[in-house]
């Protein structure tokens, strides 16, 4: 089975408020799929619906061919989950907490794997949670999600609170899991991380998926950016407005143009001047994200 997660027209109402609207996407086996969007866009609602914590008003979620409402127990044994706000029990140390989770998962024999993960994250399991920093608590959260070597990982803001070194450890772990053919669904505010880890990304806005594609396709769909050096002075005000020039930034003799319209018309326009240098700048995920967020249009696929 190549499609491990299928979300089909997922809609969720809270009273009259529509938290999710026809959210659809799928995640294939061995793929790292990212869901990005600001707070309140619907990322956590989507993830918590997958775990059957929230019941969809309409639509369906299938995980490994199992229905999220009917077969949720089977699904839970396949999944490793990290919520957006991970909380452990303050009166327990890391070892006790993780032992408890292993018992609940009926795999107490995985204690050695947990210790290996703790060593990798440089986590002292003997300290009580109340004495741990946010980052160290988050490490416990990450370890509990991985402790049963799950087929599918659902991770909501997994690197929140981690220092850059431990973020790297986490990234390496994700890539190892990907190599093992595991499926990973991740939401994050750390866009460079999503860009580095994810094969495909969906952008969610006000409960709707506004874009979903591979990183390279998203880049091509986003606003185009060009760096141009002219030999002569140009009149910045109103330059190319009619052909979709949205923004001009000048730095010395260098001009950066953000274009939403036809690139050919833009090229034609700038060649009306004397150009000494012209290059296209590839946008990063943050720019793509902002570009889709600024567009008020409907869903783009």
């Amino acid at each position: 089975m190549s499609e491990k997660i299928v979300v089909d027209k997922l809609t969720k109402y809270y009273g009259t408020f529509k938290a999710l609207s026809n959210v659809s996407f799928n995640v294939n086996k061995g793929e790292v799929f990212g869901l990005i969007g600001p707070n309140g866009a619907g990322k956590s609602t989507t993830m918590r619906s997958m775990l059957n914590f929230i019941f969809p008003s309409k639509g369906s979620i299938t995980i490994n061919g199992l229905d999220s409402k009917e077969d949720y127990l089977k699904i839970r044994s396949l999944i490793g989950y990290l919520p957006g706000e991970f909380t452990t029990y303050e009166n327990m140390n890391g070892q006790e907490y993780l032992k408890h989770i292993l018992h609940l998962r009926k795999i107490p024999q995985n204690e050695n794997y947990v210790k290996k993960l703790a060593k990798r994250f440089d986590l002292d399991l003997s300290k009580k949670a109340k004495n741990l920093s946010k980052g160290n608590k988050q490490k416990i959260g990450i370890i509990q999600a991985f402790c049963h070597d799950p087929e599918i990982l659902i991770l909501d803001e997994p690197t929140s609170g981690l220092d850059p070194l431990k973020q790297q450890v986490f990234d390496d772990l994700i890539l190892e899991y990907k190599e093992k053919g595991k499926t990973i669904f991740i939401s994050s505010h750390v866009l460079p991380e999503v860009e580095m880890l994810c094969d495909r990304v969906a952008i969610i806005k006000d409960g709707r998926i506004v874009a979903e594609n591979t990183m390279s396709k998203l880049k091509s769909m986003a606003m185009n950016r060009f760096e141009v050096i002219f030999k002569n002075e140009i009149r910045e005000k109103g330059f190319g407005k009619s052909i979709g020039v949205k923004k001009i930034i000048r730095s010395g003799d260098k001009y950066i143009f953000d274009i939403e319209g036809d690139v050919n018309k833009f090229i034609k326009k700038i060649t009306e001047n004397k150009v000494s240098s012209f290059k296209s700048i590839e946008p990063d995920l943050e720019e793509i994200f902002l570009s889709f967020y600024k567009k008020r249009g409907k869903g783009v696929k």
């Binding site: 918590r48 775990l51 914590f53 929230i54 019941f55 127990l73 089977k74 839970r76 044994s77 999944i79 989950y81 919520p83 706000e85 991970f86 909380t87 452990t88 029990y89 009166n91 006790e96 032992k99 408890h100 989770i101 018992h103 609940l104 998962r105 009926k106 107490p108 959260g141 509990q144």
Partner: protein, 265 residues
């Protein structure tokens, strides 16, 4: 001790259990020591001069009997102190059982493991029952052992009966707290509302019999069934345990339905 939710919950209670037991035992020691050292009949003469309404308001319909150690325990310990202890533990445990885990979002992790909501709730209910049983048993053991030690004549059967009622009343209010907690996952509301309900129940049981027109309302109070049969003196009442069982079962069923169907916070 951490192999399931029930055992984990009891493991969390271990220190509190020791403190509760010491407190209950010391209180019992103090009371029995004092009562065995004074002339109780002199007390009763003073109490007899009080208006009946006042004694009923303090100790319920049976009034205050300070002429015997059983009467003193009935009027003082098992009317106020022991119910406060048992209900506090039951309501605190019940109110926090699902609601606090939900508020803290620790519930998300537990329910991401292969455990159903029903299973989780049942283990939390069991934990509340065991904790309340512990408090009731601590009363029974303390007063039973100390009455033997001080050669005081306290009916073992009566003591068992009042402690059984204490346990049953405790779990009734604990179940109400659990139910309120399942409504919206707010543990503060669950504890405050069920605790408040226990207070109202106490007042109804003690005030209603003073006013003829309100007398019938006493049957709506769980406190009425707890003590009106005078279990310390007469043992287990024929059916006064039934309202506790019925309340517990009804609120357990409602909690299950509510917790199963609701979106988690």
């Amino acid at each position: 001790m951490l192999s399931n939710i029930l055992l984990k919950s009891l493991w969390d209670f271990r220190k509190a259990a020791i403190y509760w037991f010491i407190s209950i035992f010391l209180l019992a020691l103090y009371i029995i020591f004092v009562l065995s050292s004074i002339e109780l009949n002199a007390f009763q003469t003073i109490i007899d001069s009080f208006p009946k309404a006042l004694t009923q308001f303090i100790a319920g319909e049976s009034g205050i009997d300070f002429g015997s150690i059983e009467g003193f325990l009935n009027a003082q310990i098992f009317t106020i102190m022991a119910p406060i202890f048992a209900i506090s533990v039951a309501v605190n445990s019940g109110g926090k059982s699902t609601a606090l885990e939900e508020t803290n979002q620790s519930l998300d992790i537990i329910l991401s493991t292969p455990i159903t909501r029903e299973n989780f709730l049942i283990q939390k209910v069991s934990s509340m029952i065991v904790k309340t049983l512990f408090i009731s048993s601590a009363h029974w053991i303390s007063y039973y052992l100390l009455s033997i030690f001080f050669s005081e004549n306290i009916s073992a059967e009566g003591l068992f009966a009042i402690c059984l009622n204490l346990f049953l009343m405790g779990i009734s209010f604990g179940m109400i707290a659990i139910y309120i907690g399942t409504l919206n996952g707010n543990s503060t509301n669950a504890i405050a509302l069920s605790g408040g309900l226990a207070l109202v129940s106490y007042l109804i049981a003690n005030i209603a019999p003073l006013v003829d027109s309100l007398d019938a309302t006493k049957y709506s109070s769980l406190f009425y069934y707890y003590k009106s049969g005078d279990p310390l003196k007469y043992g287990i009442h024929n059916w006064h345990w039934a309202p506790f069982i019925a309340t517990s079962i009804i609120f357990f069923a409602l909690s299950l339905l509510q917790f199963k169907k609701r979106n988690l916070q």
